[in-house]
Amino acid sequence: MAAGSSSYSSMVLDEVKTPHVLAVDDSLVDRKLIERLLTKSACKVTTAENGQRALELLGLIDGQHAINNRRLQGPKVHMIITDYCMPGMTGYELLRKIKESSNLKEIPVVIMSSENVPTRIKKCLDEGAKEFMLKPLKQSDVKRLRCHMMQLGQPCNGRLCMGR
């Protein structure tokens, strides 16, 4: 880590300037909207149409990262934003699977829903979701999310902060 440590820390900063978000939603219209919202907030976006696909992508995206966690390899995911109501695997079930995975559990997960159901919200937050947002999403909502994306990019202070 000593050799090229300045390039390492600039890699950390560069990566965090453009956080990579995985957005999961079964609605084509909503995927288009969330992608644009996130891109306009200077994020790199990957979309998935269901939970299964999202887990596959997380396995691929984070696979290399997990195997050798002392080096940044491949596109890391800084945040996952998922719809709650999806056929097959719900957003809640996806959240649980992510929190059960040693590789993925540190990734902040945000749940979106068109329905304001307090028990649903509590369930998701209890399971570790960082936020629960009501649809339709607006630019102001997405701007607020950047703080969650940044959490993995805290200044190093001489210790490894990426790739735990």
Partner: protein
């Protein structure tokens, strides 16, 4: 120059009427604000997806409601999807019609559902035609060398 100003005036007037009559709500403004030089066709693209998706859902709904044994959960699931997408683009009246539709699904009222489907179809047709007119007016302004007034 007068031509452009007149076209722009017509556009603003038409747009305002869509909000006043409840066809569109603030979410549509969100869409317009997401459009810029890097994404100059964003609104048309999203709305086109909405049209395709809605047509598909309305067809499914018509099919489902014709079945001998009505699966209300399936009907509700489709209406939920249509409610969601209409809300995402700001098609307020379609969204409202979907909410009513879901109420009838919940109490398993077939008559009510059939009436609601008709109502949703009507609202959808209306907003589709309004949006197509809006886009046409925008094109006219652009073709005349003007810019589209920002919301």
């Amino acid at each position: 120059m007068d031509g452009i100003v007149e076209l722009q005036r017509q556009l603003v007037e038409y747009t305002t009427s869509l909000y006043d009559e409840g066809f569109l709500d603030d979410q549509f403004i969100q869409l317009q604000q997401l459009q810029d030089e890097s994404n100059p066709d964003f609104v048309v693209e999203v709305v086109s997806l909405f049209f395709e998706d809605s047509q598909r859902l309305l067809n499914e709904l018509a099919n489902s409601l014709e079945q001998q044994s009505l699966d209300f959960r399936r009907v509700d699931a489709h209406v939920h999807q249509l409610k969601g997408s209409s809300s995402s683009i700001g098609a307020q009246r379609v969204q409202g019609a979907c909410i009513m539709f879901r109420n009838y699904c919940e109490v398993q009222n077939v008559e009510g559902c059939l009436k609601c489907l008709q109502h949703v179809k009507n609202e959808y047709s209306l907003v589709k035609s309004k949006l197509e007119t809006l886009f046409k007016l925008e094109q006219q302004v652009l073709a005349a060398g003007g810019t589209i007034p920002m919301p």
